[in-house]
């Protein structure tokens, strides 16, 4: 071993390694407990202003949502969701791609369908247009 490094390591006693391990454990546990707010737990699909379906983000699935223009297709994968296809003219909600954070929203306004992710601590309290 590098002798200069060994010189520093000689200052550490056995209990110091235990203290260090405990300190690192506090860092990791506090990060896991306090920073999981961004992970969504379910996807909420609304059609015409009413909740159409609440989808678990645990397993992959596809849902067809009828609207005034036709069928909006929602795709769910573990931990994320997207609007797969939409009959609207501008395709904004489709081009948003995958949503993966709590509070994220994709709105297909022409077909009156929206997809939002809910979770413990959402990034937004509410959105208004």
């Amino acid at each position: 071993m590098n002798p200069r490094l060994a010189d520093w390591l000689a200052l550490l006693r056995p209990g110091d390694f235990a203290t260090l391990a405990g300190a690192l454990a506090v860092c990791v546990v506090s990060a896991l407990l306090l920073w999981r707010g961004g992970a969504p737990d379910k996807a909420i699909v609304r059609a015409g202003g009413a909740v159409f379906a609440e989808l678990s983000l645990a397993q992959p699935q596809r849902v067809d949502v009828p609207g005034p223009l036709g069928i909006t297709r929602i795709e769910v994968e573990p931990g994320r969701a997207r609007v797969l296809s939409d009959p609207g003219p501008r395709q904004y909600c489709v081009r948003q791609g995958w949503l993966s954070r709590a509070g994220a929203v994709a709105i297909c306004a022409p077909n009156e369908v929206s997809l939002s992710l809910s979770g413990g601590a959402a990034d937004y309290d509410s959105l208004n247009y």
């Binding site: 520093w8 200052l11 550490l12 006693r13 056995p14 209990g15 110091d16 203290t19 260090l20 300190a23 690192l24 506090v26 860092c27 506090s30 990060a31 306090l34 920073w35």
Partner: protein, 180 residues
């Protein structure tokens, strides 16, 4: 010169505490010039002095040096009685109290690095408790706990290693000092 009506006769102990506190204050002021990304995350180099004082001269002197450092450095930085002053006072009090307990750990197993890490965690603990109770009465302050904990771990280890090395190489510990 007009003779002063108040005579102060500093003892050798007073002079020693003043000299050590000066070292801690200088390190704190120097550190205040380092730009830091987040308020509250700083190396705490003055704690190196406090650790050395604790081992070399005992807990009472460490408390004196620690509190003199808080008051004098915030006075010099224009922070006296500003929120930051109370935060560092709360951090210093909790970390000095923790050191008072932790110094009784068996020295054979626990070195200065352990003391330093305990003191650093107590420091952020005291600061966060005061911040939560007074400055930011909302649990949002705890969102930063992992950052503060990581900083306390890193700087606690570095300060402890530096203090241990200075004690070993530069400062002779007289026999009997460990008894205090």
């Amino acid at each position: 010169m007009t003779p002063s009506t108040i005579e102060i006769h500093p003892t050798a102990d007073d002079r020693r505490v003043a000299r050590l506190a000066t070292a801690a204050i200088v390190l704190t002021i120097a550190e205040a010039a380092i730009p830091l990304p987040l308020p509250g995350v700083k190396p705490g180099l003055g704690n190196i002095v406090i650790l050395i004082v604790l081992l070399r001269w005992g807990w009472r002197d460490a408390v004196w040096v620690g509190l003199l450092r808080v008051f004098a450095s915030s006075l010099l930085l224009g922070q006296l009685f500003a929120p930051g002053f109370f935060l560092s006072l709360a951090g210093s009090l909790t970390s000095l109290a923790t050191l008072g307990v932790a110094k009784h750990l068996p020295r054979r197993w626990f070195g200065l690095v352990s003391l330093s890490v305990f003191a650093a965690f107590a420091h952020i603990g005291g600061q966060l408790a005061l911040a939560r109770a007074w400055l930011v009465p909302h649990d949002g302050v705890f969102y930063l706990v992992p950052v503060f904990a990581a900083a306390a771990t890193l700087f606690g280890v570095i300060n402890g290693l530096v203090a241990a090395r200075l004690l070993r190489d530069r400062i002779a510990v007289p026999a009997g000092a460990a008894k205090r």
